[in-house]
């Protein structure tokens, strides 16, 4: 019994390695796949024929895929993911809007759409149902090539609790702890997950396949982080694992949106920068929603024009992020850090003060 369970585990693991390699590195001949995965030719032969039988991968001729000059020697048969194996749906919810994209199993986008969806004053209990309606409407209009929808991934601005399937806090909503995953799964019967923007940007970076450790720092209405450890996005138990913005920068310092004092975010989020520039009272509570883009643009131009308080506010922001990054670097030794988010519009004001 034990032996059977073990061999099942090995088979699962090998299938997974093959799928991850094809996903990360693209179509490959069996021999190349053996090299990339470290699996024996016999294992590759057996796993690939299973995966072909299961309708998950397909054989393709290299002439279909590679342009002439890249082909060498005699024609080769390559293994590739079968686009018709399944479909996935990406949903991005932001202030008063929803965007949707349906993709095949190879990741090619088949259909896109967007519509207005009132968020700020949305009723927390009804919102998930509204999202489900938007999805149903979108799917009804989508072309229907092979493959059934198997997963829905929802990205939101703000803080998501991926275990509870809720939006904990978002600048797009007045309400808190808004259930999304459960109402969507209930209405559509399809597995769904929710995560924040920074994690999704981290997921989309192409360095994962090389097994690197790197971080995406999100700057804007808040300060967040998507952390990639040895090539895998680290979500932690609730999906709010890398709360870089709430690392302490200055004990007893400026009041943060989370209620504590001295967090990185209290200096480097839009509201923190705006507050430093406008007042010496760092106990002024952050605004409930995000700071309007125009307000931040105005502050940026003041700093660029050399207005001392505005310049100082960006210096403090850079310093808070920089100290945080120095700790991250000491702890995890990343090879790459990506700064992202609307706050990077002012990156040239911040960057010189990172260290």
């Amino acid at each position: 019994m034990r032996e059977k369970a073990d061999s099942e585990l090995v088979r699962r693991q090998n299938r997974r390695i093959v799928l991850e390699t094809l996903r990360g590195q693209g179509p490959q001949a069996r021999i190349g796949l053996g090299r990339s995965t470290g699996l024996s030719p016999a294992s590759i032969t057996s796993i690939s024929s299973q995966l072909i039988d299961d309708g998950i991968i397909v054989e393709r001729h290299d002439a279909e895929i590679l342009p002439e000059p890249n082909r060498r020697g005699r024609p080769q048969t390559l293994l590739d993911l079968d686009p018709g194996a399944a479909q996935v749906l990406a949903v991005k919810i932001s202030i008063d809007g929803i965007e949707l994209a349906l993709a095949d199993y190879r990741g090619t986008i088949l259909h896109r759409g967007s519509s207005r969806l009132a968020t700020y004053d949305a009723d927390a209990a009804a919102f998930g149902g509204r999202v489900a309606d938007e999805i149903s409407g979108f799917l009804a209009e989508a072309p229907s090539p092979r493959g059934r929808l198997a997963r829905i991934a929802i990205a939101i601005q703000g803080v998501a609790d991926s275990r509870a399937g809720t939006i904990m806090w978002s600048p797009a909503f007045r309400a808190r702890n808004i259930p999304v995953v459960e109402p969507v799964q209930k209405a559509l019967g399809i597995a769904c997950s929710i995560s924040n923007d920074a994690n999704m940007i981290a997921e989309g970076l192409d360095q994962r396949s090389r097994g690197e450790t790197s971080a995406v720092v999100f700057m804007g209405y808040g300060v967040g982080m998507g952390l990639i450890l040895d090539g895998k996005v680290y979500h932690g138990p609730t999906g709010a694992a890398a709360e870089f913005g709430h690392m302490n920068h200055l004990p007893g310092g400026a009041l943060c949106r989370c209620g504590r004092r001295g967090c990185v975010e209290a200096y480097a989020a839009d509201y923190g920068i705006l507050r430093s520039a406008g007042t010496d009272d760092d106990s002024t509570p952050p605004p409930l929603s995000g700071v309007p883009v125009e307000t931040m643009r105005k502050l940026e131009s003041q700093a660029r024009a050399g207005e001392p308080r505005a310049m100082e506010a960006y210096r403090k922001a850079g310093q808070a992020v920089g100290y945080g990054l120095a700790r991250l670097v000491a702890l995890l030794n990343p090879t790459r850090i990506v700064l992202s988010g609307p706050g990077t519009h002012a990156i040239e004001l911040i960057r010189p003060h990172l260290m």
Binding site: A90, A150, D197, V338
Partner: protein
């Protein structure tokens, strides 16, 4: 940061809807590879059940 680590690269990537959409698609596909299709026929059954809910 240069003093801390010679080979650390710090890039700026402006936030962009397409990146978030691409990341969401990638994450859903990887979850599918890992949790459904690695399992083979068993995984396919689970997949079918999920559809039937």
């Amino acid at each position: 940061m240069a003093e801390l680590r010679q080979n650390l690269v710090i890039d700026t990537v402006p936030i962009d809807t397409d990146m978030i959409i691409k990341g969401s698609i990638d994450s859903a596909l990887r979850e599918l590879d890992r949790e459904v299709f690695s399992g083979g026929p068993v995984g396919k059954e689970a997949f079918a059940l999920q559809q039937a809910v």
